[in-house]
Symmetry: C2
Subunit: 177 residues, 2 copies
DNA sequence: ATTGAACTACCAATCGATAGATAGACTGAT
DNA sequence: ATCAGTCTATCTATCGATTGGTAGTTCAAT
């Protein structure tokens, strides 16, 4: 019903498959069932669409993660973020949106690059606080380790077309807290 | 001197910055100082150029890594592969070529996707043998963990524009052998 | 004379983006 | 209640630029 939302849905899927340089307004329009001029009406430039898509992606992630410093055990929190990435692989067969954007970060329009950076900063902060609440000796390093492991595992499991690779690679995520 | 090599050099740089969908024959031609028709002479299609670029990238990596089962201590071997990835970040300011390609794997022409997959398989095999030679309890899992950590650390350090992030994220690579 | 490697010139298709028209829904004054 | 004016969201049509790719030519080296 909401065309604007449907446009972001289509853009998210396209970017997660082919990156920012790998989709066009006409493809998005065809996905949604409108003309490309209508997509430009909602998002004047491709940068606007990319930034809006990344912003919504971050918002939805944070909703799924919940409070980083609540009473849940660290293992539960880590399983939660791990499940989000794993679902992207198993359910959608797609990259993390910002993983795809991050791979081409230095060729992105400024607003898209900024949103991508914000995504990773927010992920790092959430993980750092989760680790710190658990009394981790180096929560900052643990946070970037965990984040790198998740993004890398997704990238490689998808490239090798093997979910087992993701599970093998993320075994550590439970234990190095 | 060798135009063909210069074309692959340019393609490698472009792909590592903007991905497979983010460069054109005309850009490559301009980089090298020839016309786009000359690039097509050496590489008839974009898929040919992409696959050749990935193949050379793998070959150069394997040369840098050396024998996976020689007498070097595991820590030295891991430092070697870690340095290769770190150099890509610090010296070139670029992604791993196959990290960039892997992020868009399901939208790549078949020959390029295949070469990308081969790259990760070769990396995994090298790491698995290095871990196994050292008596690691689960060399297969350790190999994909290490590979995921390296690719993920590169991706996130570049996105956050902070080399420290790479070093923090890859601290584990030495100890979990 | 043949060949490798470059060139000029072009193709149809697609790119992101814009202009202008239109149909319907809402708003406020009569 | 009606009508004029405005707004929203879409459309058709088009722009100049660029895309991957091709045909045919030139020229130096063998």
């Amino acid at each position: 019903m909401n065309i604007r939302t449907a446009i972001i849905d289509a853009a998210e899927a396209r970017i997660r498959i082919a990156g920012f340089h790998g989709f066009s307004f006409r493809e998005i329009a065809a996905d949604v069932g409108v003309k490309s001029a209508s997509v430009h009406y909602h998002f004047p430039t491709k940068a606007d669409l990319g930034a809006a898509t990344a912003a919504r992606y971050l918002q939805l992630l944070l909703e799924q993660l919940g409070d980083a410093i609540d009473a849940r055990p660290l293992a539960v929190k880590l399983d939660t973020i791990k499940a989000v990435f794993r679902n992207g692989l198993v359910r959608d067969g797609m990259m993390c949106l910002c993983g795809a954007l991050g791979a081409e970060i230095s060729s992105l329009p400024a607003p898209v690059a900024l949103q991508t950076k914000t995504f990773f900063e927010e992920c790092r902060t959430w993980l750092r606080r989760a680790f710190a609440t658990n009394g981790n000796v180096d929560p900052d390093a643990s946070a970037v380790q965990c984040l790198a492991l998740l993004e890398g595992a997704l990238l490689i499991a998808r490239s090798l077309d093997d979910v087992v690779v993701f599970d093998q690679a993320t075994l550590l995520a439970k234990t190095h807290g």
